[in-house]
Symmetry: C2
Subunit: 137 residues, 2 copies
């Protein structure tokens, strides 16, 4: 993730301790943390970091395409560092845990022109719902 910070710094981003810990927290596979979870984990390393800064940093990382923002139902949005390899999600309807999945096939191609209603369609998001092994036990 440090190459991410380096990349952003070259684009004029100031490298602060707060941004560094947020980036460090957002690392790994199948990571889908809420803003408050990011804040809690960042605060373990940098206790004085504020909620506002976490929100600001997440918003900018999303805006620059480095982090994905995933809305799940009524709950808080989740932040996903795995933004560079497109993927979809498998969501446990009991506990809310998420896994990354890469289904076969191209859903974008499955939308016939007769169903486009004049929209310029650019993106498709697929969410599978089910019960995870832990919740099924």
């Amino acid at each position: 993730m440090s190459d991410l910070l380096e990349r952003l710094r070259e684009r004029g981003w100031r490298l602060t301790a707060q941004r560094r810990v947020v980036a460090e927290v957002l690392d790994g596979d199948h990571v889908h943390l809420t803003a408050d979870e990011v804040h809690a984990r960042a605060a373990e390393r940098l206790p004085e970091i504020s909620r506002a800064t976490v929100y600001n940093t997440l918003r900018e990382l999303v805006h620059r395409g480095e982090v994905l923002e995933v809305a799940t139902d009524g709950r808080a949005k989740r932040y996903d560092p795995n933004a560079h390899r497109p993927h979809h999600h498998l969501l446990c309807s009991r506990c809310g845990s998420m896994r990354d999945v890469r289904p076969t096939g191209d859903p974008l191609a499955d939308l016939p022109a007769s169903q486009s209603f004049g929209f310029t369609v650019s993106e498709v998001e697929v969410t599978y719902r089910g019960v995870c092994p832990d919740c099924a036990a």
Copy 2:
């Protein structure tokens, strides 16, 4: 929609004027209203109806499977009376308007077992994003 009310009454639902107007407002194709929009339209017919009752009624209709609840990013949830014919959505990323779509193919079948992570997968939701004709103009 009156058969819906009749069905619910038989299951012990009290038939009140408030519930009737909410059900009347939620009728038609491509209908995806927010709770406040439902409230506004219901209030045209029944001015004293409260926001709380609209929320209560919507929650119960969703819980009984008569109305779909669709979460769109950061905005308010939308309520969709077209719950009995499964479908997916095409969402304008500018204005938030939605259309019902029925893509070809079965995305559930596109999730290989190797990608299921032990989940019991029961449902899939596909959201196409784009720009609607009005917003493109």
